[in-house]
């Protein structure tokens, strides 16, 4: 039994399948053997950054001229799927590096910034983080308090704090979004080397989710930056939101990877776990669970693939990305929980993946636009009436 119940493989191009297979084998060989322990220990496996870069997954959909693989969006989505089949924390690392740091440098940066940062970030020599969310401004980032003021020498002085920043403590560069005036349209992006005086990053302790991921709080106290630290083409809140649309697209695929991992584990368990003298997979209640799980996986895969084709055609809308992220993460969360339940008592152990995925997906449900905010995005698209403005 495979999760490809609708022969979706046949809709993928040869190189898309080849990319998927390489990343899947990488995850099987390097992520799955260690991830349970990393999760329990609360440690991001930094030793995988070099090998992931060598494989070519960092910023894989950006052009070859900047040292990237130049893949299409479907292949990029398949990479996210396979990484999250391993763990949402590993996928989050790649999402942030590629979609939230390399992408804004590519889209809003100067040629000099692109040439300096992108090849080194593709090679994993520079790790990046993305600072938009603040302690008091999550779903409403336009209210941010972080400011960048020009000093007398046309340089910038950064003050403020960011929270829930993936890769924050290990990054060498942060893309920080700050207000250069009072209004929302004054928001600009800045490239901040993390060794700049006044920049501090603090690990956020006590997470019960995404434990194999670096999540940090960033504080900027009179951080002085040169004039060319600004991303020249960034302007207004729409710039970081454009980055988030890139990342959310990857999440729509990634969540399906986590769901497939849970389904595969549940199927294997149901066939070997014997209760009342026969495998539990022979009982109707478990079969109903598995049938529901597979149905949602097939639907989610088709949704992600079609969205990818729209994106490659240049016609995908942020609202379509919202629908896919909202649906796929929500059903993946349900699938992980049902898999956990099918596994019975064993389902709470780190030896199995279901509960780890279930806990991770609670974060994925909330980050990159909460499920509820995406609901309102869709509500606005349907009715033309904006619920949060």
């Amino acid at each position: 039994m495979t999760t490809d119940f609708f022969a979706i493989d046949g809709s993928l191009a040869e190189e898309e399948r080849a990319v998927r297979d390489s990343v899947r084998r990488f995850v099987e060989a390097h992520v799955l053997p260690i991830i349970g322990t990393c999760y329990v220990d609360g440690r991001f496996p930094r030793e995988l950054v070099g090998p992931l870069a060598e494989l070519g997954v960092l910023g894989a959909n950006l052009p070859e001229t900047y040292g990237c693989a130049g893949l299409n969006n479907v292949a990029y989505g398949l990479i996210m799927q396979e990484l999250e089949r391993g763990d949402s924390g590993i996928r989050s690392f790649a999402s942030v590096q590629g979609a939230l740091v390399m992408y804004p440098i590519f889209a809003f940066g100067s040629e000099e910034q692109k040439r300096h940062y992108l090849p080194k970030m593709a090679a994993g020599e520079i790790i990046g983080c993305f600072g938009l969310t603040e302690p008091d401004f999550g779903s409403d980032p336009g209210g941010m308090l972080t400011t960048a003021r020009q000093d007398g020498s046309r340089g910038w002085v950064l003050n403020g704090a960011k929270m829930w920043i993936t890769n924050g403590s290990m990054a060498q560069v942060a893309v920080v979004w700050a207000k250069t005036g009072d209004a929302e349209h004054s928001i600009r992006g800045f490239l901040v080397p993390t060794d700049t005086p006044g920049f501090t990053a603090k690990d956020q302790k006590g997470k019960l989710s995404l434990r194999a991921s670096d999540t940090s709080e960033l504080v900027f106290q009179d951080v002085r930056l040169p004039a060319d630290a600004i991303l020249p083409l960034s302007g207004g809140l729409k710039s970081p939101l454009l980055c988030l649309t890139q990342a959310r697209y990857g999440i729509a695929w990634g969540a399906m990877g986590a769901a497939m991992a849970c389904f595969d584990e549940a199927v294997a368990y149901s066939k070997t776990r014997v209760m009342f003298g026969r495998p539990i997979g022979g009982f109707q209640i478990q079969q109903a669970r598995l049938a529901d799980m597979l149905t949602e996986i097939v639907k989610g895969q088709l949704l992600a693939l079609h969205l990818g084709r729209l994106k490659d055609a240049g016609t995908a809308t942020p609202q379509q990305v919202s629908l896919a992220k909202r649906n796929n993460v929500s059903v993946a969360t349900d699938i992980a929980r049902e898999a956990r339940r099918l596994l019975g008592g064993n389902g709470i152990l780190a030896e199995y993946g279901a509960m780890r995925h279930m806990e991770n997906l609670e974060s994925v449900y909330t980050y990159e636009g909460t499920h509820d905010i995406h609901t309102l995005v869709l509500g606005q698209a349907i009715t033309g009436l904006d619920a949060f403005r």
Binding site: E14, E15, A18, R25, G56, A60, I79
Partner: protein, 250 residues
Amino acid sequence: MKIAVCIKRVPVMDRRFTIAPGGTTIDEVGLAYDVNDFDLWAVEAALRLKEQVGTGEVVVLSLGPDVVQEQIRKALSMGADRGIHLQAASVGADDLPVARALADALRDGGYDGIFLGRLAVDRANGVTGPVIAELLGLPCVTAVSKLEIANGRGRAQRELEGAQEIVEFPLPAVITVDQGLNTERLPTLKGIMGAKKKPLEVRPVTLDAPRVTVRRLALPPERIGGRIIGEGVGAVPELVRLLHDEAKVL
């Protein structure tokens, strides 16, 4: 160092196989295909040799319908330099015509080594390599699990049943690769994109008529569960009787 590697497209083995109507072929619906594992190790061995020498060329050949180009491109994505597709609409169960077509393509290639897997995991005949060597009049070393090449000579370790054999041979030679020689590298994403730009030559071939044909395919019998005949010393006489009379192993 110029090395040719012959690779075969085979079904991925983790699926449940069924026999197609007609009873002589497997049902291909729902199967996935990949390069034969042993051939991947042959590709890896060739790439490492080229990297060790610092110069040379690795040429990958595969015989069959157009779909085998996917497997050639996988070898190219691992780092092979160019591919040759020996185009034939179908390939039968007789390995001699296959080996002949490969030998004809290899004969004037100026190769220092011709690498293949020890066998293909689909049919497991394991004869294509030795037959190519015979047809080309080259030394043949099969089931190689360690390999050193220097100064136009090779030294290889072969895996035998319960023993190992060390052999030396001059180049050019045909070498078939066994499990344990190496672990193949994963194609990198840049390698996958780059493979599309590498040369892949298509040469139509006409295979000799097969002299071996498949008459019937059968799945192995379903395994039936074990039987517990008792516990402790008291059960031994009955166990011995069943092993003698029923299983006929004593």
